[in-house]
């Protein structure tokens, strides 16, 4: 058996208690929601908190409230998200991103808050303690060198959350609560392009909810690249949301890439190309090219990096064609291997 390291477990019933307990020793305490990211990492000794605060008993962290906007508790499971008619009808892209995460079992356990805070990933890091020891560890944990780029001053581990790029494209915000107070942060400002300090969340903060503004007039879609039709983390993704006028002319556009950097990566250039245009083949090709330029995949995940970068063009093209109304079901099926 692969055992967890020893830790003290605490189970608050309220957000108030959780943040008080977190404030006692934020640097060696970690929160656990579904545990589907934290527990494998603890078994491999990538993360070794002295205290673990379990969030399952906090009722106020779960649930989806729909009025003009959509408010989703951080402790809501991915299954609950996928089963929500409100989510599916109002932000199809978010539904598509959640439905493609991991497996049904993992979606029954994993939460939206945990997905946003998911640790960054790398083939030199997601390994057992013995494996990592054998290469002298790496900068992200217990070592000094980055084996992906030995001259790199920062860790290049990959942002691998499926929902974050989509929530960024939907203009979502999150609420972070600590013993010191509450702040609202745009998902766009929740991340740093740094594999180690990938979140701007402070160690004493609890993410309590995710808010998505009214999507009237918007349409969204999410395209993911992975090896198998289940289990696998994204190795490339396009999350796109568009607001168009009655004539199909793009008024506002958000184009965000997943799994090609240490954070979800927006392409302001692709957005600028789309605004004011109808989605002609030429416009789509130009936007896909601009998105391709910002993708900086590294050689530290599944698949070869040049191909992953090329696939960004394909993902963005497919996403925009689908939003234009082209029948992309067969292409979707060949890539996702599930109906989306």
């Amino acid at each position: 058996m692969m055992r967890l390291p020893a830790f003290t477990y605490r189970a608050p019933r309220t957000v108030g208690d959780a943040v008080l307990w977190l404030a006692e020793s934020p640097t060696d305490t970690m929160l656990v929601a579904g545990g589907t990211d934290l527990l494998p990492n603890m078994k491999r000794r990538q993360q070794t908190p002295k205290t673990v605060i379990g969030l399952k008993g906090i009722a106020e962290l779960t649930g989806i409230r729909a009025s003009g906007h959509l408010s989703i508790g951080a402790g809501t499971t991915l299954t609950a998200l996928v089963n929500s008619a409100d989510v599916r009808s109002r932000c199809l892209g978010l539904w598509q991103s959640a439905a493609q995460i991991a497996t049904p079992h993992l979606r029954n356990m994993g939460t939206l808050g945990g997905n946003l805070c998911l640790d960054t990933r790398c083939t030199y890091y997601d390994q057992t303690e013995e494996w990592r020891e054998a290469i002298g560890y790496c900068m992200k944990k217990d070592g000094t060198t980055c084996w992906v780029a030995t001259s790199s001053k920062r860790c290049l581990a990959v942002s691998s959350t499926d929902t974050a790029p989509m929530l960024l494209a939907l203009g979502a915000t999150v609420t972070l609560v600590s013993a010191k107070g509450t702040r609202e942060v745009a998902v766009a400002d929740l991340y740093n392009n740094d594999g180690m300090q990938y979140l701007t969340r402070r160690a004493d903060e609890l993410l309590t909810s995710i808010d998505i503004p009214d999507q009237t007039g918007w349409a969204s879609t999410y395209w993911k690249l992975r090896r198998r039709g289940s289990f696998d983390f994204p190795v490339g993704a396009a999350a796109i949301a568009l607001k168009r006028d009655a004539g199909g002319r793009v008024e506002l556009a958000r184009v965000v890439l997943g799994a090609v950097a240490s954070q979800p990566m927006p392409s302001p250039k692709a957005e600028a190309i789309l605004v004011g245009q109808v989605l002609s083949d030429d416009v789509i090709a130009a936007a896909a090219e601009a998105a391709y330029d910002v993708a900086k995949p590294m050689d530290n995940t599944d698949f070869e990096l040049v191909w992953r970068k090329k696939m960004v063009r394909t993902l963005v093209t497919n996403a925009l064609r689908e939003l234009r109304g082209d029948d992309m079901r067969a292409v979707r099926m060949s890539l996702a291997k599930q109906v989306l």
Partner: protein
């Protein structure tokens, strides 16, 4: 650091109480403290589905569940789905149609399929595939597994009296 705690929950319809360490997973407690070794350990990292059990009727991975968080829950393992000496229709079908070869993935698959059929008795082949998409099998090539689930579903629709124990949530 870690401390022992008294875990009380319901396992296969019966109350269970056991003193365990707070850093143990539910998989470890089932196999090592309750001797329920029908639940298998494969990858122990969420990557195979061999350890799948039902918690309050939902398929979850026991290798990634903290035992302490199972307090007061209803857990169903492969040992708990038959009745008396009688196998569950899913177990019968897997034995009859070669849905189990080495059998290592079988407990996790049968429990996952049971959760599906309890909710969707007339599940289509696509729904079965989707529900089982988190269970790897190294032997069968999956076709016999899907056929076994379909046969069991048919049997269960014809003979509702076979809807046995372990369905409680």
């Amino acid at each position: 650091m870690s401390h022992a705690f008294r875990l009380s929950f319901t396992v296969n319809g019966e109350p269970a109480e056991v003193l365990v360490d707070s850093s143990k997973t539910l998989l470890e407690v089932l196999r090592e403290d309750l001797n329920l070794t029908g639940t298998k350990h494969g990858c122990e990292l969420g990557e195979c589905g061999a350890c799948a059990i039902l918690v309050n009727g939902e398929p979850v991975l026991s290798c990634l569940a903290l035992a302490v968080e199972a307090t007061d829950s209803h857990v169903t393992t492969i040992e708990g789905i038959g009745q008396g000496g009688q196998l569950h229709p899913l177990q019968d079908a897997f034995a009859d149609l070669g849905g189990a070869q080495c059998g290592y993935c079988t407990p996790g698959i049968i429990l996952t399929a049971k959760a599906l059929l309890d909710r969707t008795p007339d599940a289509s082949a696509d729904q079965i595939k989707e529900a089982l998409s988190g269970n790897l099998c190294r032997c069968t090539g999956y076709l016999q597994i899907i056929e076994s689930v379909q046969k069991a579903a048919e049997e269960m629709r014809l003979r509702p009296d076979l809807q046995v124990r372990g369905t409680e949530t």
